[in-house]
């Protein structure tokens, strides 16, 4: 046995598939292997819109990364292979991977299509010490799917997640319980959960560059600066994280967005697009039996500056009409000053599947006719595709099918 795992410490694994979408493409199309490969929007010779979903490792050498505008990716490496995502296929392989993980421990929390936490605290009798479990999982994934994943092993979720990222691809990193603080200290603060660009800047200005710098600050100081969240940050920096691997995570949000073929000045056209997005989102929510209370408009201007604006309602909704009218109002309330729009999207959070629907006396919202219409529309579209029927308001506009993407995240 390797270095000892304290008997009362939890064993948490974080498994993160390497460049997942790109890896699946390489798996299915052997000729792609070893060449720079980008899954995402159509680059259209450098004039394409939309963003990179995943770049494989050869492509990353050119500085291409997820969420980068596809045109920029093209500029960096025009000879890369660009493919559109085949999400049904990725989801199929994802299910295989998750099934493999479940065979090691039933306590699994899937974070996204290619990422999961596993609580293997009770599995040592079956599979040996934590390092062995991690190795066996990696081997099983490789032999059964042909793909590689990186695994982090630690006594809590946060450290496991940090660890899995350290030796990507095909990594296996173990942080022994008790050594968390030394493990984290040299890492940049951006590795802390919840520290984005702006917070990092703020912390940098105060002379905090590594996680160790934060751990050495007085707890009260951070609380003073960031409130309760500061305390959380400080605890993370010391490797303290007691959250459990939640088997039944609830989805936190659902959204739909569209990147325009060209940056758009015609705000009426943007509003029509919101209409369509609301329609699609509503359908997707109805299929999943979800309703939400917070509706968020996402807007990306020319130049990539992105804004969101949310409204929280007193009731749970999922009808297209409400989603649309809120999004349009929020769009109109934004200071636009003749700027061009690159992307719009609508998200719904604070989701709920329980509870019945509050019925209405009148109005378009949940009138029986409208409800019937909505469900009929949904049914038709589900059967025959989006093009079969549409709202009259959308008809005269020549909306080309733009690069649209779906996001369903269940991140913590």
């Amino acid at each position: 046995m390797q270095a000892n795992w304290p008997p009362n410490a939890r064993i948490i694994l974080h498994i993160d598939m390497d460049a997942f979408y790109a890896a699946v493409e390489e798996l299915d199309q052997p000729e792609y292997r070893g060449k720079p490969l980008v899954v995402g929007a159509d680059p259209k010779g450098g004039h394409g819109r939309g963003v990179v979903s995943t770049a494989n490792y050869p492509a990353r050498k050119f500085g291409i990364h997820s969420a980068m505008p596809i045109s920029q990716a093209y500029k960096r490496c025009p000879h890369a292979i660009f493919v559109r995502g085949r999400y049904a296929r990725y989801s199929e392989i994802s299910t295989q991977v998750m099934d493999i993980l479940k065979s090691f421990s039933p306590i699994i929390q899937q974070i996204s299509i290619d990422e999961a936490f596993l609580d293997a605290t009770g599995a040592t009798n079956l599979y040996g010490p934590p390092q062995y479990i991690a190795r066996k999982i990696k081997d099983a994934i490789r032999s059964q799917t042909g793909l590689t994943g990186s695994v982090g092993v630690a006594a809590n979720k946060f450290i496991a997640k940090v660890a899995s990222d350290l030796e990507k691809p095909d990594g296996l990193t173990v942080c022994l319980p008790g050594s968390e603080q030394t493990f984290l200290a040299p890492l940049p603060i951006r590795k802390l959960w919840g520290v984005g660009e702006k917070t990092a800047e703020k912390l940098n200005k105060l002379g905090m560059k590594t996680i160790g710098d934060i751990a050495n600050v007085e707890q009260g100081h951070l609380m003073h600066m960031f409130g309760k969240w500061g305390l959380h940050l400080w605890q993370l920096s010391r490797g303290i994280d007691s959250r459990a691997v939640e088997q039944f995570t609830t989805r936190k949000s659902i959204s739909e967005e569209t990147t325009f073929e060209e940056d758009v000045m015609d705000y009426a056209f943007v509003e029509k697009t919101l209409f369509r997005i609301a329609d699609r989102l509503s359908r997707s929510m109805q299929r999943k039996n979800l309703k939400g209370r917070t509706v968020t408009l996402k807007l990306r201007w020319q130049g990539f500056e992105t804004h969101t604006r949310s409204k929280t309602l007193n009731e749970y909704v999922n009808d297209a009409e409400t989603l649309r009218s809120i999004a349009v109002r929020q769009f109109r309330a934004m200071s636009r000053e003749g700027r061009r729009v690159r992307l719009v999207g609508i998200g719904v959070s604070q989701l709920n599947t329980v509870g019945g629907e509050q019925l209405s006396l009148f109005g378009h919202q949940q009138s029986p006719q409208n409800e019937k219409l909505e469900s009929l529309l949904s049914e038709l579209k589900a059967k025959f595709g989006d093009a079969v029927i549409t709202r009259a308001a959308l008809m005269e506009s020549k909306i080309r099918k733009p690069g649209s993407s779906k996001n369903e995240d269940s991140k913590n």
Binding site: G356, E357, F362
Partner: protein, 373 residues
């Protein structure tokens, strides 16, 4: 301008008018009150451009003049003064001195020319109501208005002036409150308007009891006049929905229930309902009403039953407890009547016996129960 006044008198006028001052505004002058002094009468005016209010207060040692003064600060200093005579003096630079025997307080005012003039067109017609009646009608409806900015007409109270009836109606689409004043001495002139809630709240707060109130209705404005106090308000534009269409006439099932018993049972049970949906379930059977709630997300459940006068078949209906309690709290009667049809139709809730000169009615739409679909 110069005047002396009792603190209490001045404060009473300021207290009325301060409610008009917008809490946030991009037009600084709206944070001021216009003071105009003529013939020993101090007139006070405030506006947020939608709603304006005038009131007046008797003063002595008066020298005429006019200016505007920062409302909040003026209000606060007068409020904090002991009940003593106060002298207010202004100079040509619009500096204001407030003096009592305790001390001197200086404020910077502005010229009255800066203050917006609100044009109110002539009224098409007017009528009188006792303040008691008007306040009651506002109270019975205003709680049910919508806060949904997407449907502006529902954000106000609809007033229908008919030949022999005055009606006020409010709804947010899920519940509806309607009160009819049946002893209304109207005339041939009829009409209907949507009144903004802020104006009605000002009326409720500022119109003293026992007085006759003149209500003047024009195309775009309504004015409430009571003695020296006048409240003008723009009307909400747009078509109020056809509410009569949604009041069911064929609800055959009747449940008579003691209102206080029902309120306390609903309050207890609803503690166990989901904090957002407030969903509770009414399970009716002959002579008994069972109220249930459970929060699937958080866990916990409750049920309670109470005696009712009901002879229909078994029936289960979901309601939002918060909406239901709102309605019950506005029915100050011992016994009330639920007229029901089925699990997805509106309940008509009324006092079991109406007062002599009025008709009071509330509607509540159910929550569709998951297991009843």
């Amino acid at each position: 301008m110069k005047f002396s006044v009792n603190k209490a008198d001045l404060f009473a006028s300021l207290q009325k008018i301060i409610g008009v001052i917008p809490t946030k505004t991009t037009i600084p002058i709206l944070s001021n009150i216009l003071l105009t002094l003529e013939d020993s009468k101090l007139k006070l005016a405030a506006t947020d451009l939608e709603i304006s209010m005038d009131t007046a207060c008797d003063v002595s040692d008066a020298e005429k003049g006019a200016l505007t003064i920062p409302a909040r600060k003026f209000f606060e200093i007068i409020r904090e003064l002991p009940d003593l005579p106060v002298t207010v003096e202004t100079d040509e630079r619009n500096h204001v001195k407030v003096k009592t025997e305790k001390g001197v307080y200086k404020l910077i005012g502005e010229s009255e020319d800066e203050f917006p003039r609100i044009d109110v067109e002539d009224a098409d017609f007017e009528f009188y109501l006792s303040s008691e009646k008007l306040n009651r009608m506002i109270d019975k409806t205003i709680f049910a208005v919508s806060t949904d900015e997407l449907r502006t007409t529902l954000m106000g109270v609809y007033m229908q002036i008919l030949a022999n009836e005055l009606r006020m109606i409010a709804t947010d689409g899920h519940r509806l409150a309607k009160i009819t004043h049946t002893a209304f001495p109207g005339d041939e002139k009829t009409g209907s308007v949507v009144l903004p809630t802020k104006a009605l709240q000002l009326v409720q707060r500022n119109i003293d009891d026992e007085e006759r109130i003149k209500v003047s209705v024009g195309d775009n404005h309504v004015t409430f006049t009571c003695g020296d106090t006048k409240i003008y308000s723009k009307l909400i534009e747009g078509q109020f929905p056809n509410y009569e269409r949604v009041i069911p006439l064929d609800n055959q099932l009747k449940m008579y229930v003691n209102k206080d018993l029902l309120i306390s049972a609903v309050r207890r049970v609803s503690i166990f309902s989901n904090q957002y949906t407030h969903q509770i379930k009414f399970a009716l059977s002959p002579s008994s009403l069972m109220i249930q709630a459970e929060d699937v997300e958080v866990g916990g459940e409750a049920q309670e039953s109470l005696p009712v006068d009901y002879t229909g078949d078994k029936l289960e209906i979901g309601y939002n407890a918060a909406y239901l309690l709102d309605i019950l709290r506005h029915l100050e009667y011992e016994e009330i009547l639920f007229n029901l049809k089925d699990a997805t139709s509106a309940a008509v809730i009324t006092p079991s016996e109406q007062d002599a000169d009025e008709d009071l009615l509330m509607l509540l739409m159910p929550i569709r129960l998951n297991d009843s679909i």
